[in-house]
Amino acid sequence: MSLYEKLGGAEAIDAAVDIFYRKVLADDRISHFFDDVDMDAQAAKQKAFLTMAFGGPNSYTGKDMREAHKHMNLNETHFDAVVENLAATLTELGVSEEDIGEVAAVAASVKDDVLNK
């Protein structure tokens, strides 16, 4: 069973998006990237990202990741901040350490695309 199914599918992701997005907006390391974005559009993107990270049905590709982040001049700190917020979200949702590790591994797999390496 994927973590996506374990957490409760699409509905659970909606709840996770709110928690995750709130943490990201409150994080001084990365919040400025979100100043001018449309909240609904951004939430939809985060939902797609979380669905992928949790092993749910998704159409996310490395190319999308690369294209979306290309002009943002991101570095390791930014990437780490997102992964930390993701882990904290999962902890808040009562996800086990082991499963969090699995999600972090999926996130790490797109790192080069995000940082445009």
Partner: protein
């Protein structure tokens, strides 16, 4: 490149352009107003092809079945054949019952309730074949049985000044709607509600507040009305009376500048909300007014804990 087939011609859609942009550029007279997928005055009808879902967001089930879509929000990736919808099919006539002045710059228009509506929704008024203006509904259908609009008169404004000032009781207006989801909707009658608006953002909030009370809402309701100057406030007496009669209701008027003329708070609305509500967790929030105001306060309330789907918004777009 996708093509738009319209009245026996085909037009290529430029990257990023909507069906509306394309047809306007080709010289067609397509009615439109907000260009942001809200007013629905640019509705067209699909004849062939498939529509991007966002072009039908907020439309009624019947409208979707009829193939209506908002041409301003329609950026298809494949060819579409489309047709114009006769305004007569979108609108109904409603007679003006009363017109009065709420303060120096705000008119109150009451119209016959020619359709069912929920307080906080909005309608578009057709001024001529190509021009509409949208206004939010301040009345409660079950209580008032009329449509009430608060209209800020903008000097030389096409509707609010030039058109509105010539209107008389008994005149008929062509109206379209109701549209929108910024309404009193909760299964939890004891949930705390925060209603915040600036200017005529009070109109939908006035409706939502009275609708909530009519439906027996028991939880605390805090209405916060902001304005630049204390003299901009309206319906002050009426709102204070509602608060006096209903112990769960609190009404706050907050002005940036107060020339000592009224009993209102002075200061910054965002800061006031932050101080009063360090946590908005589990609250239901209604925000009405200009886009910048809503964007800022929405983010603030979301960060303070309110769920995204518990923040309702009525964004006022320039016509």
């Amino acid at each position: 490149m996708a093509k738009i087939h319209f009245e026996n011609e085909a037009y290529s859609l430029n990257e990023g352009d909507s069906v509306l942009d394309t047809l306007l550029e080709a010289g067609h007279d397509i009615p439109f107003s907000c260009k942001e997928g809200a007013c629905q005055s640019c509705l067209m009808k699909l004849e062939e092809g498939s529509l991007p879902p966002e072009s039908q967001a907020g439309l009624s089930e019947v409208q979707v079945k009829l193939g209506y879509f908002m041409s301003c929000s329609c950026k298809p990736s494949a060819d579409l054949k489309v047709a114009q919808v006769d305004a007569g099919q979108l609108t109904v006539e409603s007679k003006i019952i009363t017109i009065d002045q709420l303060n120096d710059s705000i008119l109150r228009l009451r119209l016959e309730a020619v359709f069912d509506f929920l307080s906080g929704q909005y309608i578009s008024i057709w001024i001529d074949d190509n021009t509409t203006r949208s206004y939010s509904l301040a009345s409660v259908k079950a209580v008032d049985n009329f449509i009430e609009l608060h209209i800020k008169v903008i000097p030389d404004g096409i509707f609010s000044d030039k058109y509105c000032r010539r209107l008389n009781i008994g005149d008929k207006l062509k109206i379209q709607g109701p549209i929108g989801k910024c309404i009193y909707a909760t299964n939890n009658k004891s949930q705390a509600l925060l209603l915040a608006g600036i200017g005529t953002g009070l109109a939908p909030l006035y409706g939502i507040l009275r609708d909530a009370l009519h439906q027996g809402h028991e939880g605390p309701i805090h209405l916060i009305v902001g304005a630049k100057q204390a003299s901009n406030f309206y319906l002050v007496e009426e709102l204070n009376q509602i608060a006096a009669k209903n112990s769960q209701v609190k009404v706050t008027f907050i002005a940036q500048e107060n020339n000592n003329q009224s009993a209102c708070e002075t200061g910054d609305l965002y800061q006031y909300v932050a101080e009063q509500y360090p946590s908005t967790k589990d609250m239901r929030v209604y925000l009405c007014g200009a886009k910048t105001f809503i964007k800022k306060l929405r983010k603030q309330c979301f960060l303070a804990g309110a769920d995204r789907d518990c923040i309702h918004m009525d964004v006022f777009l320039p016509g």
